[in-house]
């Protein structure tokens, strides 16, 4: 395709991307460098049905003047990024100096909200992504080997987890693991511990969310792999059978290398998706035990009665940076292959 026609084909999509993704990201970036103006508080008499007392309110007249002059707020530089609720540079340094062992240091840092969320997000990412790739590939291979007559209904059944709305899927599991749900109650009997609760145990909550993640994302990997398997040429496979290659050898030496670009693609998408894990935390009401970076943003924007735009913006920008860092190795590799292929 000549560059000119490519440009015109790409133009509408590109414009939409700049308008609806590019500009908001820039605006988020700018916002993350600002904090609210200093609040001007005045003492007034407040009366309600339970009596009167003197206490403080925000002085609207004084505040509105400052706001008109500088609507964005007070410039804070990287202040929000390094405060305790984000990178917490000061606290981390302090912990490093006062900790006697590396274990103690890690424990203390892990107690800071941002690192707590980061640990869960990375754990989720690192466990779910390979599991999804592996499971998706195995399912695709098995279904590909099954008689064509029953393949249709089986494929439909396999992609069901992806069709079910994430929130509904997680709610169903949430009720099953309730202390009186089918899984929760049976676990109590099995472990002989009437006070066992999947929902209040941190480890069990993490495991539940991870299992849910694998269950929910595998169909996507399966669909892509299944499509890729249809393009594997038959001749080399037949030749290898004649040469006496086992099923495992055929998969390893012929099928996998052939669909390798697709594996990279699925890995990229899964990594990006998993790094932004959010719905299951809400669905499982798991805020107490598991927090992700996306959940932190949500918390800053809606859970507080006061909306923390600066905090939310800073976490958003760091999430974008985090995704870029995670994707770099995969992207570098693809780039190298692209170069050698030319």
């Amino acid at each position: 395709m000549p560059n000119r026609s490519f440009f015109w084909f790409f133009f509408p999509a590109g414009l939409a991307m700049i308008l609806f993704i590019g500009l908001p990201i820039i605006s988020t970036g700018i916002q993350s460098f600002y904090a609210q103006h200093d609040q001007i508080l005045i003492e007034v008499k407040k009366c309600d049905p339970f009596g009167c007392k003197t206490s403080v309110v925000v002085d609207q007249e004084a505040t509105s003047k400052i706001k008109e002059d500088k609507p964005l707020g007070k410039f804070n530089g990287f202040g929000t990024y390094i405060d305790r609720n984000h990178l917490a540079s000061e606290q981390v340094l302090e912990f490093w100096n006062e900790s006697k062992s590396v274990g103690e240091f890690v424990g203390k840092v892990g107690n800071l909200p941002f690192y707590k969320a980061l640990v869960f997000t990375l754990t989720y990412c690192v466990i779910v992504t390979p599991c999804v790739l592996f499971l998706g590939f195995i399912i695709a291979l098995s279904l590909n080997a099954i008689s064509r007559k029953i393949r249709g209904p089986l494929i439909f059944g396999t992609i069901l987890p992806m069709i079910v709305t994430p929130l509904v899927g997680s709610l169903v599991l949430f009720w099953m693991i309730d202390a009186e749900g089918i899984i929760g109650a049976n676990l109590q009997i099995l472990m002989d511990d009437p006070y066992l609760s999947v929902k209040s145990s941190k480890a069990l909550t993490w495991i539940t969310i991870i299992i849910y993640g694998v269950w929910h994302h595998s169909p996507f990997a399966f669909v892509v792999f299944y499509a890729a398997l249809q393009t594997v040429p038959q001749e080399p496979l037949e030749a290898s059978i004649i040469d006496g290659a086992s099923r495992f050898q055929r998969v390893k030496h012929i099928v996998l290398p052939h669909i390798y670009p697709v594996v990279t693609f699925v890995a990229l998408i899964s990594l990006m998706d998993n790094f932004r894990v959010f719905e299951p935390i809400i669905g499982f009401s798991a805020e107490g035990s598991a927090q992700s970076l996306s959940w932190l943003i949500y918390d800053n924007l809606v859970n507080e009665e006061v909306i923390l735009f600066g905090s939310a913006a800073a976490t958003s920008i760091m999430t974008i940076v985090g995704i870029s860092i995670i994707l770099t190795p995969v992207l570098l590799r693809t780039w190298k292959e692209f170069r050698t292929n030319r």
């Binding site: 904090a35 609210q36 103006h37 200093d38 609040q39 508080l41 003492e43 007034v44 008499k45 407040k46 009366c47 309600d48 049905p49 339970f50 009596g51 206490s55 403080v56 309110v57 925000v58 609207q60 505040t63 509105s64 007070k74 804070n76 929000t80 405060d83 305790r84 609720n85 606290q91 107690n111 909200p113 949430f174 309730d178 202390a179 929760g184 009437p194 006070y195 066992l196 609760s197 929902k199 209040s200 941190k202 499982f284 009401s285 798991a286 805020e287 107490g288 035990s289 927090q291 918390d299 809606v302 859970n303 507080e304 009665e305 006061v306 909306i307 923390l308 600066g310 905090s311």
Partner: protein
């Protein structure tokens, strides 16, 4: 058939004729929480909408919608039904208008005590009061020879006795869901211990002290007597636990009693359910509970005509003797003519015992938010009480700095 039709028509015209406030223009759009008393109030306001447009959004997510919706100009809603905590962000951002002139002109039926005034300006008109108090199962208590608990120490002892008797595995319940609900339980218990959240009227936090530790320890004791999933249970969830007969003592909002005691569910449990005063704690004499009012506010970014129409409709409801007589068991109405029934016991006792209102301070929302997420690890047993309180203060200070309070 004909008879029914005639009756229906009569009812229809009857109500319109009865309660026309003669509103000629403007549009009314209300944002409110979702529980029976508020639905009744809004229905009553609708009776007299006259020829004004009338829309309403009842949502449990009202807190998340309010600030963005009222910041828009013109604002999406003309009326926001708020409470002592949710009015604060609206005032912080200057989103609601004083209504002294409207009260003077159209607020004849409204009592002086219903007005929420800040520096003399009427910012809201309250119509009901609320608090969290104890609910007990009299049959279970009698069976085990337990008197109705008056303090949280007695609650713990009673629940332990019921558990030891093998009657119930998790005899106590309260809304301990991580986040807003859990923080609210801390606020109640800390106030019961006589604690102050901020150092002498400023914005510096003041919870990392002996009272804070005692508060956390009491919460933990109660949590250990609750369903192990307590960190995921909100008011609605513990209500279900109660109706299934799993719980003998519970701390719950007074406003939830209406649906708890309705005809649905096990009649035996409903009959044995008794509403009693909120408990005290740690030898204190004020209850470990906060008083709340629910009232209506008017959006600033909306035309004067809309504000006037909205006020007249809402004022009609907030002063309707007919409504409080009909819906007497739905809430503790602050409206003139209300005769308290058995379901009002909790709030009335709380007021008598000198319960404090929830602190209406500009920075309280940040403290509430920090509490909701930072004390979870203590309850899970992963952290000491002192560390948890230190974390709350640190998280609060960071947020308060970003918001310009420190």
């Amino acid at each position: 058939m004909k008879k029914i039709l005639v009756t229906l028509l009569f009812l229809l015209f009857g109500t319109v004729a009865n309660a026309d406030c003669n509103i000629k223009s403007g549009s009314i759009n209300i944002l409110a929480n979702d529980f029976p008393a508020l639905r009744t109030l809004v229905e009553t306001a609708k009776e007299c909408k006259g020829s004004a447009d009338f829309k309403v959004t009842h949502s449990a997510e009202h807190n998340k919608i309010a600030v963005p919706a009222l910041t828009a100009n013109p604002s999406e809603f003309s009326v926001r039904v708020a409470a002592n905590s949710s009015i604060v962000p609206l005032m912080n951002a200057d989103l609601i208008r004083p209504m002294n002139d409207l009260v003077e002109k159209y607020g004849k039926g409204i009592q002086e005590s219903q007005l929420i005034t800040i520096d003399g300006k009427v910012m809201a008109v309250a119509f009901m009061a609320n608090t969290q108090h104890l609910y007990v199962r009299t049959d279970v208590l009698q069976e085990n020879g337990i008197a109705i608990p008056k303090t949280y120490e007695e609650v713990v002892a009673a629940a332990e006795k019921i558990r030891a008797a093998g009657k119930m595995k998790y005899p106590y319940a309260a809304a301990y869901k991580a986040g807003w609900n859990l923080a609210e339980e801390f606020v109640n218990m800390y106030i019961g211990h006589g604690g102050e959240f901020f150092k002498d009227g400023g914005a510096q936090p003041n919870i990392n002290n002996a009272k804070g530790v005692a508060t956390l320890n009491m919460l933990k004791k109660l949590a250990d007597l609750s369903n192990p999933d307590y960190l995921t249970h909100d008011s609605e969830a513990i209500k279900v636990e109660w109706e299934s007969g799993n719980v003998a003592i519970m701390t719950l909002w007074a406003s939830r009693s209406g649906t708890l005691l309705d005809d649905e569910g096990d009649a035996k449990i409903t009959a044995a359910t008794k509403l009693v005063a909120p408990a005290t704690v740690g030898g204190g004499n004020i209850p470990a509970a906060t008083l709340w009012w629910d009232g209506f506010t008017l959006a600033k970014n909306r035309s004067d005509a809309d504000a006037e129409a909205s006020f007249r409709a809402m004022a009609h409801a907030a002063s309707s003797k007919e409504m409080v007589a009909k819906a007497a068991d739905q809430a503790v109405w602050l409206v003139e003519g209300f005769v308290p029934g058995p379901k009002s016991v909790g709030v009335i006792e709380a007021v008598k015992m000198g319960a404090k209102p929830y602190p209406m301070l500009p920075q309280m929302g940040l403290m509430h938010g920090a509490l909701g997420s930072e004390i979870v690890e203590f309850l899970q047993g992963n952290e000491s009480a002192e560390q948890a309180l230190k974390d709350v203060e640190a998280a609060y200070i960071t947020k308060a700095k970003e918001q310009g309070f420190l």
